[in-house]
């Protein structure tokens, strides 16, 4: 598949040394994107968390034991596995900025994309979205609620991108050249430790592109060649190594 070359490439860098695993990003995401209350939050095969948090462990006994937390949004891959397998073109990577779209009324719920996504970033709506009486007031009009039977995923709060462009237009500015802080997803905005940074990876001025260029930056399962637009950062080597499926007896130390 021919990958698109966008002028702007929205990207995220998550500093895993700053992340405390508090879950604020996940909560903000749910509220922002109209995720309904879970029917059974204990059944992780049926729950949805666009911003899911994984716990990493270095596997060593005390006192060498260390943990890290890894928030996992949609990677907005440069070469998405999901959009190539979608039989109805419900998910595409065709918009300037490189955010992988998901059009819910178009989705037929076949879940090929979920099988294709190596990051488990996609979720199927197993149940009708029901907000208990009174809770419907928490719904925002900016994100369409999804019915049962379709797949959904993180969109980098795409509605905030649209809002930023509208703001730029009324200010008489160029909507295609947004300043660094004009568009930020809910998770990055709420992160109390500032672990989540957001910006244009193609713009050398933006902090994300500077951190992404660091030796301590890596991407999840980079070996697969999906070219994610989400980077992680950690000074701890064992964390960086967990970013890819390194076998215990693997040779070489190349982590991307």
């Amino acid at each position: 598949m021919q990958a698109h070359n966008f002028k702007v490439k929205w990207g995220m860098v998550i500093d895993l040394d700053k992340c405390t695993g508090c879950g604020a990003c996940s909560v903000a995401c749910r509220a922002e994107n109209n995720l309904p209350p879970e029917v059974d939050a204990g059944n992780k095969l049926r729950t949805a968390d666009w911003m899911n948090i994984y716990e990493l462990s270095n596997g060593k006994p005390f006192p060498e034991h260390e943990v890290a937390y890894l928030p996992r949004p949609c990677m907005q891959c440069g070469k998405p596995s999901c959009s190539t397998v979608c039989p109805v073109v419900a998910t595409t990577k065709d918009e300037e900025g490189g955010i992988v779209s998901q059009v819910y009324p178009r989705c037929i719920g076949c879940r090929y994309c979920m099988a294709a996504c190596p990051y488990h970033a996609r979720y199927f709506n197993w149940f009708d979205p029901i907000w208990p009486e009174g809770m419907e007031k928490t719904l925002t009009p900016y994100v369409s609620a999804r019915p049962r039977g379709v797949v959904e995923k993180c969109t980098f709060c795409h509605h905030r991108f649209n809002a930023a462009k509208e703001q730029a237009r009324i200010n008489g500015e160029d909507p295609t050249a947004l300043p660094e802080d004009a568009y930020i997803p809910a998770c990055a905005e709420i992160c109390p430790t500032g672990a989540i940074k957001f910006g244009d990876l193609n713009n050398a001025e933006h902090e994300v592109s500077k951190i992404a260029a660091s030796d301590n930056a890596f991407r999840l399962l980079a070996k697969l060649g999906t070219d994610p637009q989400v980077y992680y950062y950690s000074k701890r080597e064992w964390v960086r190594k967990l970013g890819d499926n390194y076998l215990k007896n693997a040779k070489g130390e190349d982590h991307v």
């Binding site: 065709d94 918009e95 300037e96 009324p105 609620a145 509605h159 509208e166 703001q167 009324i170």
Partner: protein, 180 residues
Amino acid sequence: MAKCKSCVVLPFLIGLVASIVLGWWGFPKVLYSQKTQPIRFDHVVHVDDQGIACEDCHAFRDDGSFTGLPTNENCVGCHEDVQGEDPDEARYVTEYVEKEKEVAWLVYQKQPDNVYFSHIAHKDKFECTECHLDVATMSTPPVFYENRLSGYSKDTMKMWQCEECHAKNGASNACFVCHK
């Protein structure tokens, strides 16, 4: 075997005409229900007689979003009490302003929930009336045709119309440009 030419042609013609009438006139009649606005809002009185500009009621907010239709907040500036002779105005004041209830205006261009449309992205390139009915010149709001099957207005722009215009003007037709 038919005995004469007209025995074949005539029923065919009658059938053809009946099908055309049924398809072009009858079916739309059945498909669309006709609704009228809850209040007969007179644009001419407001625009021509009172000299109110369109932007006074249909404005952009500071964040670039569009207000669409005005709410009672806009209207009570003048219609705290009945101003004229129009019975619909009196009804508006007694049934809505005094009861602090918003008018459930029928929106001719209402789009589905999963559609995102930015007015400000279009306003410099197009006149409002290229997509909207020219209500500013109407004393009586036009009939609202509601599709009985979909529940949408007949005047709601279809996706192919959006796409066609985007393609012709070199605007992106990526899914997320218009969908949310």
